[in-house]
Amino acid sequence: MIIAHLGPLAASIFSLIAIVSLLLSFVMLGSRWLRHYLYAFAAQSWLIAILSASVGYYANFPELYLIAILTFLFRGLLLPYLLLRIVRRLSVPRELHEILRPSSSLVVGALGVVFALAVAHNISAELNLAGTIVVLALTVMLSMKLIGFLILAARQEAVSQILGLLILENGIFLGSQILVPGMPLLLEVVILFDLLIVVACFGVLVRYLMAHAGTTSSRDLRRLVG
């Protein structure tokens, strides 16, 4: 494992980026303005791009520079722009009926992080990697998963749900840059494009939702039961 045995400088840079990204997902949890979600998501994507570049530099995986550029362009600029357009067109600037208030969801999110830390700690102890960056990477990866699912469950605006999904994938991206930087390049490039398609699809679906169901809140989607 190369990454686990890096110098202290590299390790602290990676840790810093990972922790700030985690904090940014708490920003999304704690806000009810859709626009803030978007800015936090964009900032998180930029951080991931920086992370890719620095992993590429320190661990000597030059292909990660390409990933960094693509991440910055697609996830950092294009996706937030597309989503911003959706938000503008919908004229729904904020969550109206949240199931969990932002303050309560912050607490639940924090519990999620504790749980993720416990899992990450066990795994890395099993692999004799306790005390390395691996623990942090796993924690951030798993807790961003949990936070993403929390947003999916507790928020009802269409755009928030799209962002919930994007956080799920951001977590995987962030973790995999640190854990498996050598994962085949093709795969990561395709996943980036894939995301773009996802958001394009969502854009169309949101338009449908507006036009035919008359709302973009999943609260009102409850005809199909049983």
């Binding site: 996802v198 008359g214 989607l221």
Partner: protein, 486 residues
């Protein structure tokens, strides 16, 4: 062999292009149909070729044509063919002439992505293929643009994308696990992961298997991750429902099966199999509850899909030659049978103009031939002899007993009986409770709507009466490769 495998995929791709160029509704239907015929003809000899020449890798190991994949491709291409035939007749009833080219392009795209999945030798690319099936089929589910259809499409894409991201996490973790053995940079294939598996960390292997199981299990429709399935299956046009149920679910199941083999190799097979069995039993349980009290005709079929995916999961969970053979045989029979059921449901829904079981009556009187086919299909899908699913379920039960899973087998039998009674009771209401007089104008169904039902029922009967030894041996080899001889 490569040529054939590629033709199965290239035919729908060509159809998409041509439909995009011509944009003519009638022509689009036949282009899609032609693509389906070509890809069926190309998929047909694949199992034979893989038997004769063994599994093959192509394009520096990115494409795999093995027995398991070839079998699933065959099942998929059959459903694609049947539902393409059916679509010609069904889509004319919808009165959406202008949007038909788009429908058929998407439909061919759906066929394409489901056929690509089993060929992927790279678990990551397989994941992408599955993700693409979701994106394409969402628009097919929401095609009719009623508020319910939009709701179903939205639920479908949110639930499945969320679930499948867990599978991506599992994929990343299993690559990471392998990197302790094979070094930080290696080719990601099923074979390389299997090579690394015996030396990897069991706990991490178990974690990644569970994540993958939940992830692809969402796509397969195993309870409790099945919530999108009844909505999507009931709101899409009938040919789409048939594809979702008969083709897509199998394609997603193959991922679980391949990861299960990896978990076996990593020494966590016992617990992985138990979890799969538990999910299978729970799916049967949930399906039984909802089938008994169901009111919507296509939702009934959808819950029956949950049931059958549960049975397939049980077959692979039991393992052993009988369990695996039962599950694979079940895939084929379920694909045929569920297509038949959705075609019948589509015909009935269009003729009576309702989705409610209670508003449908006297089907047998109004449609003597189609009604008889549909009723035979209903008997078959509940696992009654002399149809194929009986053989498959029987073999699964034998597999369960042979591997010592007595309790799950008992529960499975009880639930199957409950489902048998509940399911056929709805058909009794629709056929023999003639409180609802059949509507006066008996609009005749087009031939396109009944021919695929014949084409599905005939092989179902043959496979029920005669399980060819060649197929049995074919499954035996797959079971051996998957490490089923535990």
């Amino acid at each position: 062999m490569l040529a054939l495998a590629l033709i199965t995929v290239l035919a729908p791709a060509a159809a998409i292009l041509l439909i995009g160029v011509t944009r003519h509704p009638r022509l689009a239907a036949f282009l899609n149909l032609a693509a389906a015929v070509v890809s069926f003809l190309a998929a047909l000899p694949l199992p034979v070729l893989t038997t004769m020449r063994g599994p093959h890798l192509f394009w520096s190991g990115s494409i795999i044509v093995d027995r398991l994949g070839a079998w699933v491709q065959l099942c998929t291409s059959i459903v694609y063919l049947l539902s393409s035939i059916y679509a010609v007749g069904y889509m004319r009833m919808l009165d959406e002439e202008a949007r038909l080219p788009r429908f058929y392009a998407l439909f061919a795209g759906f066929g394409l992505t489901t056929l690509v999945g089993p060929m992927m030798n790279n678990p990551g690319l397989y994941w992408i293929a599955i993700e693409l099936t979701t994106l394409v089929s969402t628009f097919l589910v929401a095609f009719e643009r009623a508020p319910e259809a939009i709701e179903a499409g939205w639920k479908y894409i949110i639930v499945v994308s969320g679930g499948i991201s867990l599978a991506l996490l599992g994929t990343v973790l299993s690559y990471w696990n392998g990197s302790f053995v094979l070094g930080p940079r290696y080719d990601m294939t099923w074979a390389s992961l299997a090579r690394a598996a015996p030396h990897t960390d069991p706990m991490l292997a178990l974690l990644s298997f569970l994540l993958v199981l939940i992830g692809f299990g969402t796509k397969v429709g195993l309870a409790p991750m099945h919530t999108w399935l009844p909505d999507a299956h009931s709101e899409g046009p009938a040919p789409v429902s048939a594809m979702l149920s008969g083709a897509l679910l199998n394609t997603a199941m193959i991922g679980i099966v391949r990861y299960l083999a990896l978990a076996d190799q990593a020494g966590v097979g016992r617990i992985s199999h138990s979890v799969l069995i538990a999910l299978g039993v729970f799916s049967l349980f949930v399906a039984a509850l909802f089938i008994v009290r169901q009111e919507g005709i296509k939702r009934l079929m959808a819950y029956s899909s949950v049931e059958h995916m549960g049975v397939i999961a049980l077959g692979f969970g039991f393992g052993g030659p009988f369990g695996i053979a039962g599950a694979l045989y079940h895939m084929m029979n379920h694909s045929l049978n569920k297509s038949l059921m959705f075609f019948g449901a589509g015909n009935v829904m269009r003729s009576y103009g309702t989705k409610e079981i209670s508003h449908i009556g006297g089907v047998g009187l109004r449609f003597p031939v189609m009604g008889a086919l549909w009723l035979a299909g209903a008997v078959a899908i509940t696992g009654a002899p002399p149809f194929g699913l009986f053989q498959a379920e029987f073999s699964t039960l034998r597999g369960g007993l042979a591997t010592g899973h007595v309790l799950p087998v008992l529960i499975m039998v009880v639930l199957l009986i409950v489902i048998f009674i509940g399911f056929l009771n709805h058909f009794r209401v629709m056929y023999y409770e003639s409180s609802i007089a059949p509507a006066a104008e008996a609009g005749a169904l087009s031939v396109w709507c009944t021919v695929p039902m014949w084409c599905a029922l005939a092989p179902l009967l043959v496979l029920g009466l005669w399980w060819p030894e060649a197929i049995w041996n074919y499954f035996g080899t797959i079971a051996h490769v998957l490490g089923g001889a535990r």
